[in-house]
Symmetry: C2
Subunit: 153 residues, 2 copies
Amino acid sequence: MNQIPFQDYYPDDYSHCFGCGRLNDRGYQLKSFWEGDEGVCRILPEHHYSGGMKDILYGGLIASLVDCHGAGTAAAAKARELKIEMKPGAMPRFVTASLKVDYLSPTPVGKELELRAKVEEISGRKVTVNVTVSTDGTVHARGRLLMIQIREG
Amino acid sequence: MNQIPFQDYYPDDYSHCFGCGRLNDRGYQLKSFWEGDEGVCRILPEHHYSGGMKDILYGGLIASLVDCHGAGTAAAAKARELKIEMKPGAMPRFVTASLKVDYLSPTPVGKELELRAKVEEISGRKVTVNVTVSTDGTVHARGRLLMIQIREG
């Protein structure tokens, strides 16, 4: 298994994201990997990322992780489609056009989150991605993203 | 003007939110106020909340602020509808059922954000809220939330 995370292939000038930038030392530094055709990310948020109540995870964090992990999966899927030879800096760059999150049930604090992203469609520079957020196999939130590839050069 | 922020009326056990909880000393402690029939919040995010590029604000932060400010405005609007006498702990509590954010243009880092929330509909325990996120009068993102009031007791 060649398990270099998607985010390590972003160009340096695109690696400052608070959610997933390897050069942002104050951020979450989220890491995503392929498992078959799904992008998967596992992360254990710190306890201060609570919602209103101390034992429920902050919904804004869930939205943030959905965004970053979905973006990484969209980029990695586009790289696969284009048969780009993966090396640092080679990852296509995407921005989020729209993000929707449906919160199905409270997500507990203190549990590892599993985010699983599936690409629904690649249409030119547009990639649609669906993401689930689970703990212990229970899906607590579903995300849907429309990502747009940045024109290079 | 009686300018106590919406969030200061939440019960103590609902004040731990990373985004807007007055008892979360590691969070953003976002504050929202009425301006007529709009909930308004102004906040200057720190520079490390960047997106991929250093000078563009993190989209996950935008989604988080939309969520918290929209939730606060939904709760304050419901309190108005119910003619609740506002005092600490009196604010109705809401959870986010769904959050959608459309990103229209990059939001610069280093600028004060203005979030303006308008309640579209209150239908029993459901409140629909629309939020804009601007800097210097330019709207960079639009959010839409469906909030559900928690049954008390």
